[in-house]
C-alpha cells in the first residue's frame, strides 16, 4: 500500500490566525528567530493499488474539490516513499 500526502495551506494573502497565534507565542517561550509561521492541514492517504498517473490525477481532483477550498487554500500532492 502506498501513501500519498496532501498538504493544504491557506493562500499566502489570506489571514492565518492560527499561524499568527503560534508565532506570537514563540518569543514568550524563549524561541527567537522565527520570522513567520503558517499553519495548515496534512492528510495522509493510504492508497489501495498502485499510485500511477491515473490515481494521482484522481487524488488531485479530490484535493481540489474536497480536501481544500481553493477560494482560500492551496494544496500540494506528494507520493511518500515507502520507508
Amino acid at each position: 500500500m502506498a501513501r500519498v500526502v496532501v498538504d493544504v495551506m491557506l493562500k499566502p494573502e489570506i489571514l492565518d490566525p492560527q499561524g499568527q497565534a503560534v508565532q506570537r507565542a514563540l518569543p514568550r517561550l524563549g524561541f527567537e528567530g522565527i520570522a513567520d509561521v503558517r499553519q495548515g492541514k496534512r492528510f495522509e492517504l493510504e492508497v489501495d493499488g498502485p499510485v500511477d498517473d491515473a490515481a494521482l490525477a484522481r487524488i488531485n481532483e479530490m484535493a481540489e474539490t474536497f480536501l481544500a477550498n481553493t477560494v482560500i487554500e492551496d494544496f500540494t500532492v506528494k507520493v511518500e516513499e515507502p520507508k
Binding site: I14, L15, P17, A21, R24, N69, V71, I72
Partner: protein
C-alpha cells in the same frame, strides 16, 4: 509605478478609467467628475465605487425604506433611529438596548464557514460601535432543499462558522431560524442578529468632530481581503507589483474580535472616544467617509501609516480592503496615550492614522502626496438614488388562484395521523437541535430562554431581573403569494413569539432578502413588502430601528422567494415571569387563543404533503395580534399561564407537538365544535397561540379573555404519554420524538 495623485488627475483629464469594471454606471461616473470638477484619482474612484454600490448605498431600496421613518412614529422608547450603525431603544432602569440583523448571503455560498463566521463578526462590531456590550446573537438561516447534495456542503459549514465565531466570542446564541426551500439552492440566506446593552449615557455615535482630534485605527492589520473590484483597478489602470487577484472572501479571527470587544468596552468605560465606527463593508473607505460626513469638519488621513499584513497592497486596495476585526475611533489628543495603553493591555494594535480638520474635505495622503480630496458627504450619504421600475408580476394572479384550500385532504383518521407524522418530521418542521446544539447558549450566565423557545431572553440586570427578548421570523412562501401580507405575517409572528415569552414588544429590525432590483417583478415584491412592513409597524406601534437590505439573491434569472426577515425586540421587567413553551404540568388545561379559519395557502402542510405553493397566505389582523400579545403578557405577569406557544407554520399540531416534547408530557385534544379536525390541526391562521392554564387559574383566565374580547377555546388537557386527538388518532410521544428529532441528524450528521 505612477501614483495617481489629485494633481496628476487634474493634469490628465482624459485618462481612461475602469469605472465600468468597478460596477459604476456611466452617469454615476459622470456625476463623480461633476462633484470633483475633474476626473477622480484611482483612490477616489475606488472609494466612490464601493460606497455607491448597492450594498453600501442602498440606491435601489432607499426610496422605499423612507416609509419606515416617515410613516411609523418613533415611540417613547426610541433613542436612536435609522441611520446609525444600529438603532437604540430605552428599556427602562437607565438601560438602553441596541440590536440589528444583517445578511452575509453571498460570501456564505462561496465559503460557508468563513462567510457565516465573518457575518457574525460584522454584526457584533456594529453593535459594539454603538457603545454597547454585545449580549446575544441570533441566526436566521435559509438553505436549498434539505436533501440536495450542495446543502450538505453549505449547511454544516455555515453552522460551524456561526458557532465557531460566536462561541469563541462568548456570546450566547438564543434563537434564529432554519428554513429549507429549493429557491435558496444557489443562494442561501445567512442573516445574523445581535443585541447589545448599555446605559443611556454610554451611547456612542459614528461621527468625527472636533478639529485636532485624532483618527485611530485599531484591531487587526489590513490585508488583501474581500477586495473584488480593486483587482480591476490594479490590473487595468495601474502597473501593480502585487498579486493581481485578491481573494473576495475574508477569513475571520474571532479571538481578535473578542479582544477588540473587551478593549473597546474598557475604552468606553473611561470615556476616551468622541466618535467611533466599525469597519465592515468597504473598509476604510466607508469608515473615514462616514465619520467625516457625519461630523462637522473635514478629515486628513495618512494612509501609509495603516498597519499592513501584506506590504504589497496599493493605496486603493488599502482603502477598499474588508479585513475583519478593525475599528476606527475619534480620540481627543490628550486621551490618545491612555487609549493606546488600553489597546496594549489587550494586545490590540492601534495607530493614529490622521486627524479631524476644520476644513470640509476628506483628504488622504500616501507618502506625502495627496490621493483623495473629496467632500465626504458625496461619498457616504449622497450617493445615487434610483426609482427602479416595478410592476405586479404577470404570474401573480395565477399563483394566487391556485388555491391550496382545494388540495386533497386526508380521507380518514389513519391518513390524518400519517400526515401529522410526515409534517413534524419534515426538514422545516423537524427539531433544529442538531444545529442549535452547536451553539453555546449558556455563556455569560444570563440566558433565561433560548432555542427551542418562542423567543430568546437574556437577563440584563442581576439585581432587578430586568430582561430583553428577541425573535426573528420570516416566511418566504407567504411573501411569494402576497408580499404585502407576507411581510406583515413575518412581523406578526415575530411579535407574537416575543409576547408569548412574556415580554412586551418594543421595536423591530429587519433584513430584507430579495432578488435583483433590476427585475420589475422583484422590485414590486420589495415595494410591497416594505409597504406592508411599514403599515404593520404603524399599527402595532413598533418603530423600525434599522436593518439591512440584501438584493441580487438569485441564481441566474431565478430570484429567491421574497424573504423579509423581521426581528422584534421586547422587554420584560422581571424575567422570573417568563413563559416557556413546555407543557410540563400534568392536568393543566390547554386553551387555544384566537380564531381558526380554513387557511392553507403557503402552509407547511401544502408543502410537505403536496409540494404545493399557491393561493393566498393567511389573513393578518394586527389589532388582534396586539390584543393577543397583551393577554399573553398579562397572563404571564399574573401567573395565569405556565406555558405558551405561538401557532405558525405547521399550525396547531406542530405547536402542541413541540410543547409536549419539550415538557415530556402528552396531551389529550378535543376538536372544538364547528371545526373540521383537519383544519383544526393544520390551518395556519395568524393571531393564535396555545397556552397551558393551571386549573386554579381557569376562571380568572377565562374572565380576562372574555372581558377583553379574545376568543379562548378549551381544547384539551396535558396528560399521559401520547398526543391524542379524541375520536381521531393518538401517537405516542416516543414515536413523535423520533420522527421530530431524527430528521436533521439523518441528513447532516
Amino acid at each position: 509605478m505612477t501614483l495617481d495623485t489629485v494633481k496628476h488627475a487634474s493634469e490628465t483629464p482624459e485618462a481612461e478609467q475602469p469605472w465600468k469594471e468597478l460596477g459604476l454606471k456611466e452617469d454615476e461616473y459622470a456625476r463623480i467628475r461633476e462633484i470633483l470638477g475633474r476626473r477622480p484619482t484611482g483612490a477616489e474612484l475606488a472609494m466612490y465605487s464601493v460606497m455607491w454600490s448597492e450594498h453600501c448605498s442602498y440606491k435601489s431600496s432607499k426610496v422605499h425604506l423612507k416609509q419606515f421613518g416617515e410613516k411609523v412614529p418613533a415611540n417613547d422608547a426610541m433613542l436612536v433611529g435609522i441611520g446609525e450603525n444600529a438603532g437604540v431603544v430605552d428599556v427602562g432602569q437607565g438601560y438602553a438596548v441596541t440590536f440589528k440583523v444583517e445578511s452575509h448571503n453571498h460570501p456564505s455560498y462561496i465559503e460557508p464557514y468563513q462567510g457565516a463566521a465573518t457575518g457574525v463578526g460584522g454584526i457584533v462590531r456594529d453593535i459594539l460601535a454603538m457603545g454597547a456590550r454585545p449580549v446575544a446573537v441570533l441566526d436566521p438561516l435559509r438553505f436549498g432543499a434539505a436533501d440536495h447534495p450542495d446543502t450538505r456542503r453549505v449547511l454544516p459549514g455555515v453552522v460551524a462558522g456561526i458557532g465557531g465565531y460566536g462561541n469563541c466570542l462568548g456570546l450566547p446564541n438564543i434563537g434564529g431560524e432554519v428554513v429549507f426551500d429549493a429557491c435558496y439552492q444557489g443562494n442561501p440566506l445567512v442573516n445574523a442578529g445581535c443585541i447589545g446593552v448599555m446605559k443611556h449615557e454610554d451611547i456612542h455615535l459614528a461621527k468625527a468632530s472636533g478639529p485636532g482630534n485624532k483618527v485611530v485605527l485599531y484591531g487587526a492589520r489590513t490585508g488583501g481581503d474581500g477586495i473584488g473590484g480593486v483587482s480591476v483597478l490594479a490590473s487595468e489602470t495601474f502597473e501593480s507589483t502585487g498579486p493581481a487577484k485578491r481573494p473576495a472572501v475574508q477569513v475571520g479571527d474571532p479571538f481578535q474580535e473578542k479582544l477588540l470587544i473587551e478593549c473597546t468596552l474598557e475604552i468606553f468605560r473611561e470615556q476616551l472616544v468622541a466618535g467611533i465606527q466599525d469597519l465592515g463593508g468597504a473598509g476604510l473607505s466607508c469608515a473615514t467617509s462616514e465619520l467625516a460626513s457625519a461630523g462637522s469638519g473635514g478629515m486628513r488621513v495618512e494612509l501609509d501609516t495603516v498597519p499592513l499584513r501584506d506590504s504589497s497592497l496599493s493605496p486603493e486596495e488599502i482603502l477598499m480592503s474588508e479585513s475583519q476585526e478593525r475599528m476606527c475611533a475619534i480620540v481627543e489628543p490628550d486621551k490618545v496615550d491612555r487609549f493606546m495603553e488600553i489597546c496594549e493591555k489587550w494586545d490590540v494594535i492601534a495607530t493614529v492614522i490622521g486627524e479631524v480638520t476644520d476644513g470640509s474635505q476628506l483628504e488622504i495622503f500616501w507618502h506625502g502626496e495627496q490621493i483623495v480630496d473629496v467632500p465626504p458627504r458625496t461619498v457616504a450619504h449622497e450617493g445615487p438614488v434610483y426609482n427602479r421600475p416595478y410592476a405586479r408580476p404577470a404570474w401573480q394572479d395565477e399563483l394566487q388562484a391556485d388555491d391550496a384550500n382545494k388540495l386533497p385532504r386526508p380521507a380518514n383518521a389513519a391518513e390524518l395521523r400519517e400526515q401529522v407524522l410526515k409534517l413534524v418530521s419534515s426538514p422545516n418542521q423537524a427539531s433544529k437541535s442538531w444545529i442549535t446544539d452547536q451553539y453555546d447558549r449558556f455563556v455569560q450566565g444570563n440566558t433565561v430562554l433560548a432555542m427551542p423557545e418562542d423567543a430568546g431572553m437574556v437577563r440584563i440586570d442581576e439585581k432587578t431581573n430586568l430582561g430583553v427578548a428577541m425573535a426573528t421570523d420570516g416566511n418566504g412562501r407567504y411573501a411569494k403569494l402576497d408580499p404585502y401580507t407576507g411581510a406583515q405575517l413575518a412581523l406578526a409572528e415575530s411579535y407574537r413569539n416575543v409576547a408569548a415569552s412574556g415580554a412586551r414588544p418594543l421595536a423591530i429590525s429587519d433584513c430584507l432578502n430579495f432578488g435583483s432590483p433590476e427585475d420589475p417583478d422583484v422590485m414590486w415584491q420589495f415595494a410591497e413588502s416594505t409597504r406592508g412592513l411599514a403599515d404593520g409597524c404603524l399599527q402595532l406601534g413598533t418603530p423600525v430601528t434599522g436593518g439591512n437590505v440584501s438584493l441580487y439573491n438569485q441564481t441566474g434569472e431565478t430570484a429567491i422567494h421574497p424573504t423579509p426577515v423581521v426581528a422584534v425586540l421586547g422587554v420584560i421587567d422581571d424575567v422570573t415571569r417568563r413563559t416557556p413553551v413546555a407543557f410540563a404540568e400534568e392536568g393543566q388545561l390547554l386553551y387555544l387563543l384566537g380564531d381558526t379559519h380554513e387557511e392553507l395557502g403557503g402552509s407547511a402542510w401544502s408543502q410537505v404533503i403536496h409540494d404545493h405553493l399557491g393561493g393566498m397566505p393567511p389573513k393578518v389582523d394586527l389589532d388582534r395580534e396586539k390584543l393577543l400579545g397583551e393577554i399573553l403578557i398579562s397572563a404571564s405577569r399574573d401567573g395565569m399561564i405556565d406555558a405558551a406557544h405561538d401557532l405558525s407554520d405547521g399550525g396547531l399540531i406542530q405547536a402542541v407537538t413541540e410543547s409536549c416534547l419539550r415538557g415530556g408530557k402528552g396531551a389529550r385534544l378535543v376538536v372544538p365544535d364547528g371545526l373540521d379536525s383537519f383544519v383544526f390541526l393544520f390551518s395556519e391562521s395568524a393571531g393564535r397561540a396555545v397556552v397551558s392554564v393551571p386549573r386554579s387559574e381557569e376562571l380568572r383566565f377565562n374572565d380576562m379573555c372574555g372581558a377583553r374580547g379574545l376568543p379562548a377555546t378549551r381544547i384539551g388537557v396535558v396528560d399521559g404519554e401520547e398526543i391524542e386527538v379524541q375520536g381521531e388518532f393518538s401517537i405516542p410521544l416516543t414515536e413523535l420524538r423520533t420522527a421530530h428529532e431524527a430528521t436533521l441528524p439523518d441528513l447532516f450528521a
